[in-house]
Subunit: 296 residues, 3 copies
């Protein structure tokens, strides 16, 4: 049994459109015109142009905090090609994610408990007619979001898709090898903290349980750098100039320095590889044979 | 017969204020304070400082998609001089555009079907008193927008003006000369696509009808560059490295390269002149006598 | 007698989070989730990272124009330390300011007439549980703002504080010394106008009443520069190339040049010291013994 005719009150927006021109405003105007009762929330429009991975991660960080409703996410390097425009229902109808089928929505869908239904947005009755090339945010995604808010059932918007066949996300899981836990930087925040794809369970497994305790030392290898990093519970517990591993506000471990940028100190960016291994000291960095090639 | 007492629910905002300080927020606070039922939509606040032409074009691109209501647009290099603050009613009262009388509103008014009434915003009863210099967005335009939302009739806000005497827009029409269609770049979008002031009718006239068909070749001359450009219907149809003319999402032709910036490749910016002429090939660029001086 | 159970409809937001990632969006999502009836207004999220002084001044400039409701302000270099998270009631309950107790809120509270009540936000029942480090905007301040909107009384949110013991603001008053009025630059706006901490009363005191009249000349000394500046009532009254003192839209005097940046011309930034003294001419700058050391 599907939720039929459910109305939504909120559309949360995430794009790589930037705010320099009127693209975001036009998307919101279309939603307002078609569904005047719905409110919009700008999650961010500052995703790097065409950075599907970065957009999918920002959406995943936000999604546990979103109110019930529609999410409209557009980072779409394949616009104009055969990539599908989709809408994915999650949590039995509590939410619907609308966007391109390129992996952007996948981590958010997974965090919301997985897809219950999905459609390709191919019903032209629920789209705007473009005077030229299609502007998918304006002509396809915004009308879909608005019609969903008005209670149009997902199945009306287009052809049903098997959710299992949607393009998966691009987020690597860390993997254990003989020399340690091979992780990667998911995100560098505005303070230079480097969020890794490593949560408490993975860190605990690293050092037979000692890694999860505040105070444990982990050796961090990235590029030419090798550092000891203390596991601490808040940024203020970091020793001056020393690298730490802090359980951040999303519940993932981040490489951090107190009031300095770990990204700058360790020359790390999103997608870069990091190896964590059991360590007993926090000697200063010394050149060592590099374990990993930097990506990109 | 005027629409009297009509209330509005939406104020769409476009300014050159930027988002670095609280100017936009204060404008929205004033609207919220005076007309709590009204919602605001930020079209953009990223118009270049004092770029009236760029602002008027962004407004024109957005206006076909706006819900009924008030538009508050401020790009105002003449603030503090004798330029008038105005409100212009369009579409028999479906919308009112509020802003300075410097051409900023003119293309939007025209696209909305022309002005049905206009006033100068000179009634101090509908303005805020400033503690010093007038901040027109806060003290004049935001209160006018809010009072319109509350059902105050346009005529209450100030002295009636003849809409025909408002400052016209600054958008040139393309003109046909012996060597081709003299056009100009209206807008460079974030991908570097260069929107021209050329629609399907003008392009059709260029080559006795062949120019409008996808696949036709047009010679593009701009500055020292001369290129053959194929008319294509989507960005994905562009050949690698070749310049194309794509009917964009506003229904205007844009110079474009597949996944590259046409603006960078051709050294074009807003307002630059381009000549389109009938062409049969797409040879690479070669130096030719320049037909046009670059503007600015 | 306190206002108990008062509900609010608006949350005005000011942070240093920027718009590049989803932080602001998550704060708004939390408010929307907990208090769906409340609207948010973005005053600005462009305060310089950790610039408490700049944030407190932007809030002070905005606060006279805010509708009744909650203000959520976060510029928080001390997050994770012992600085308190607070909520401060003003105007007998017309508004509540929520943020860190580091001086950020103090000028706004003063401009709103002073605090009537204050609490430390230490009741975990009105906070979100973080999966790791606390993200105070999301986990503490946004829930507090939302619960206030829902009619939860201030006293429910935590331990009562004496408003007189809150951290004061960092805004210096100008002081009169033998060589003139020692002032400082509060704010450089996007046009380069340098707002001083000098209002009409202070300027009047400077020259036995002549300084307040448009047309009076004041000598401005800053760093190595010494200039005569004419007091003018609008920016358009400035002579070309000459420095003027304009009563700006917040009712404070600003150093300004017509269509040029006074900040660039005089090498001034926020917090820099300026001495105003009685003057009779507006000779061009000449090197003079410097009266003041530049701050920072």
């Amino acid at each position: 049994l599907h939720a039929v005719g459910r109305r939504y009150e909120t559309v949360s927006l995430l794009t790589d459109y930037g705010l320099d021109d009127e693209l975001v405003g036009v998307v919101k105007a279309v939603i307002r015109d078609l569904a005047p009762h719905a409110s919009t929330i700008d999650l961010t429009h500052g995703i790097g142009p065409f950075d599907v991975r970065g957009g999918s991660l920002a959406l995943a960080r936000a999604i546990p905090y979103l109110p019930d409703g529609v999410v409209l996410a557009v980072v779409d390097p394949g616009v104009g090609t055969s990539r599908k425009a989709i809408a994915v229902e999650v949590a039995g109808g509590a939410g619907v994610l609308v966007g391109p089928d390129n992996g952007l929505l996948a981590p958010g869908v997974a965090l919301a408990g997985g897809a219950t239904r999905a459609v390709e947005l191919d019903n032209p009755n629920y789209q705007l007619e473009a005077p030229g090339a299609t502007f998918a945010g304006r002509d396809v995604f915004a009308p879909a979001a608005a019609h969903l808010c008005n209670g149009v059932d997902l199945d009306e918007l287009g052809t049903a898709l098997d959710p299992a066949l949607l393009v998966p996300g691009m987020i690597a899981l860390p993997r254990t090898e003989t020399n340690g836990l091979h992780a990667e930087v998911l995100w560098v925040d505005r303070f230079g903290n480097c969020q890794l794809n490593v949560g408490p369970d993975e860190l605990a497994s690293l050092t037979a349980g000692s890694g999860e305790r505040a105070g444990a030392i982990v050796t961090v290898t990235c590029g030419d750098e090798r550092r000891g990093a203390r596991v601490v519970s808040t940024f203020a517990d970091l020793a001056a100039g020393a690298v730490g591993l802090v359980l951040d506000s999303q519940g993932m471990y981040a490489l951090a320095l107190d009031r300095r940028s770990a990204a700058a100190e360790l020359a790390l960016g999103p997608g870069d590889a990091v190896v964590l291994s059991a360590g007993e000291d926090d000697r200063p960095a010394e050149p060592t044979p590099v374990d990993l090639s930097r990506r990109q």
